[in-house]
């Protein structure tokens, strides 16, 4: 029996620590395992016994790239438990800070981490020698996103200004003046970015995914909506456990999430875009049509174009929200804790981030559950890897390895967040 093992011992240009093992037996791809070996983070356990008021600051530490996603899902869950609704300008500011996170996170991934795969460079530094303007543009976009986080969150990494009920401090209208100009420049750069990445050579590859995302009555989703799919799913976020489950698998410290009835599903930009295209402004729909994405996208490699489109959207949305901003009289609404269970689900850059908390009467956390986007995508990533690598089994290991790493980066996996994630090995038997 011919055995072949290809191993990527440590995956580069992803957030966190993971690896990939491909098992090839008698010339057929038998198994692909995404091994997440970053140690468990134990956030759900350390939240027990802590006050609801501390939660946004603790939970921001889960991720340095997408802390807002965790903060937003948490504050919505807290408010859901305590029967509070945050509306008006405070709600608008929450969408605005999320725009900042999408801009900085997507810009980093699209240009610095993913684009080198398509253009044949080992990293962004090598790519910058030939595509300096694109890299300079990415840096400017990232800076703009960070500025928005700093303005609303106090600082760009692990922001400190988000609290249950709203914010600790809300900005004056005049404070948005400098960022407004930056956002207009960022929007133009993002449009150029869409047109640039759309010219990349994309592998001819599609899969029939079950896309899962939030869907809101009239907005492209950030903070609110029902959990829907392109099949028959349409549920309230509180009913998540009725349709989804998490399983331990031996090769990953991250729990695998699956649909109870159908298994693997996909969250993130491709899913959001497929399920909410009609919620995008007409100008962005037209840009999508210009780059050939008006009829949706089942090719995960083209997720880079969708991410770039979402940067344009986030810039547009931020400018719209700033244009309508009137400083609210109170920075937050009053919250009275009670013994209750609350749910929160928001759209992190990488997909839905679902939280459930059970509180004591004084607002102390009794139990916490956090389902990050990357843990939900693991099964889909492994299925992609089998489909992508299967036609390549007769190719040299480095060809298979390169395409597999590129496939994993289609998902912009945040391994640190999901650990409860990369190296590649291929075993041929």
């Amino acid at each position: 029996m011919a055995t072949r093992t290809i191993r990527v011992g440590y995956l580069a240009r992803v957030e966190g620590e993971g690896a990939l093992d491909l098992h090839i037996s008698d010339g057929r791809l038998a198994r692909a395992e995404l091994r997440i070996f970053e140690p468990p983070r134990l956030f759900e356990a350390l939240l027990r016994g802590r006050s609801y008021i501390e939660t946004p600051d603790i939970i921001a530490r889960i991720c340095g790239i997408c802390p807002i996603a965790y903060q937003m899902s948490a504050v919505h869950a807290i408010e859901n438990a305590f029967g509070v609704t945050v509306g008006g300008q405070l709600r608008a500011l929450r969408r605005l800070i999320y725009c900042g996170e999408w801009i900085e996170s997507h810009a980093l991934h699209v240009v610095m981490l993913h684009a080198p795969d398509f253009l044949g460079y080992p990293d962004a530094i090598a790519m910058a020698r030939d595509y300096g303007d694109a890299v300079r543009s990415a840096l400017a976009l990232k800076k703009t996103g960070n500025e928005l986080l700093r303005l609303l969150g106090g600082r760009e990494i692990h922001p400190v200004n988000v609290r249950p009920g709203g914010f600790y401090r809300v900005p004056e209208r005049s404070e948005f003046r400098p960022i407004t100009e930056q956002l207009m420049d960022a929007r133009d750069r993002a449009i150029d970015l869409v047109r640039w990445v759309a010219t990349f050579p994309f592998p001819d590859f599609e899969r029939d995914y079950e896309f899962i995302a939030l869907r809101h009555a009239d907005e492209y989703p950030f903070n609110e909506g029902r959990i829907v799919s392109n099949r028959d799913l349409d549920i309230d976020i509180a009913d998540y456990d009725s349709e989804f489950e998490e399983r331990h698998v031996a090769h990953s410290t991250a729990l695998h999430s699956l649909l109870k009835r159908r298994g693997a599903y996909l969250v993130g930009p491709l899913a959001r875009y497929a399920l909410n295209f009609d919620r995008l402004p007409a100008a962005i729909q037209a840009l999508a049509a210009e780059v050939g994405l008006a009829d949706g996208c089942q090719n995960p490699f083209r997720s880079i174009v969708v991410r770039a489109l979402e940067i344009v959207f986030a810039c547009e949305e931020a400018l719209r929200l700033i244009g309508m901003y009137e400083r609210p009289e109170e920075a937050s609404v009053q919250i009275e804790p009670r013994a209750a269970v609350g749910f929160g689900c928001t759209e992190a850059p990488r997909g839905i981030c679902w939280h459930r908390y059970e509180f004591e009467a004084d607002g102390t956390i009794r139990t916490a559950r956090i389902v990050p986007p990357t843990s939900q995508n693991q099964l889909s990533i492994e299925a992609d890897l089998i489909a992508v690598a299967a036609p390549l089994v007769s190719e040299p290991d480095d060809v298979i390895r390169g395409r597999c790493e590129q496939s994993i980066r289609n998902y912009d996996p945040c391994i640190s967040c999901s650990t409860h994630f990369l190296k590649l090995s291929v075993r041929r038997t």
Binding site: A128, E156, I157
Partner: protein, 176 residues
């Protein structure tokens, strides 16, 4: 009378004060407050090291202070003049971030965004967990404060021609 400085200088402290000795860059910046000329900004970067690339645009000289992984002795101070030597590529400067200081500088040079002169002070740490700093690392911070202040004066007043001559001299010495 002392001549007015001809070159713009920036001082940057790198590191996260919540990660033990990684906070030494920030500690040096705090101690430098009020000791530097008013036209020399002090910037602290705790997370996004890519911010360096936009922060130092337009400056002629930058001095960075960062923690380094332990090699021999906690508190040992290394000075790198990047006109003369490169930062070691592996496992010296400790960064908990996706982009290392070495990579950020290389990317900055490729994009023609890097200042002409970059000096890096790297202080060997002992532990990078918790909020407590090793005494020998904190003591090294005091020494680095004086050395940064002296370096600023030198870099501000050295002429661009002298700086270029210095680089050429270094390059020739490597060539020979």
């Amino acid at each position: 009378m002392k001549e007015a400085p001809t070159r713009r200088a920036l001082v940057v402290g790198l590191g996260n004060p919540d990660r033990g000795d990684d906070g030494v860059g920030r500690l040096v910046m705090e101690k430098l407050a009020g000791l530097l000329p008013a036209d020399v900004p002090i910037v602290q970067i705790a997370g996004n090291i890519l911010d360096l690339l936009t922060e130092w645009v337009g400056f002629d000289a930058v001095i960075c202070v960062d923690a380094a992984a332990p090699l021999t002795t906690p508190g040992r101070i290394h000075r790198f003049d990047l006109a003369i030597s490169e930062l070691p590529r592996n496992a010296t400067i400790t960064s908990s971030h996706a982009v290392s200081l070495t990579d950020a500088i290389e990317l900055s040079r490729v994009l023609h965004l890097a200042p002409r002169d970059i000096i890096v002070f790297a202080i060997e740490g002992a532990s990078f967990t918790g909020a407590t700093m090793a005494p020998e690392v904190a003591a090294a911070a005091v020494e680095v404060v004086g050395r940064v202040a002296a370096e600023v004066t030198k870099l501000q007043h050295i002429s661009d021609k002298l700086a270029a001559d210095k680089r050429d001299e270094a390059a020739n010495s490597f060539a020979s």
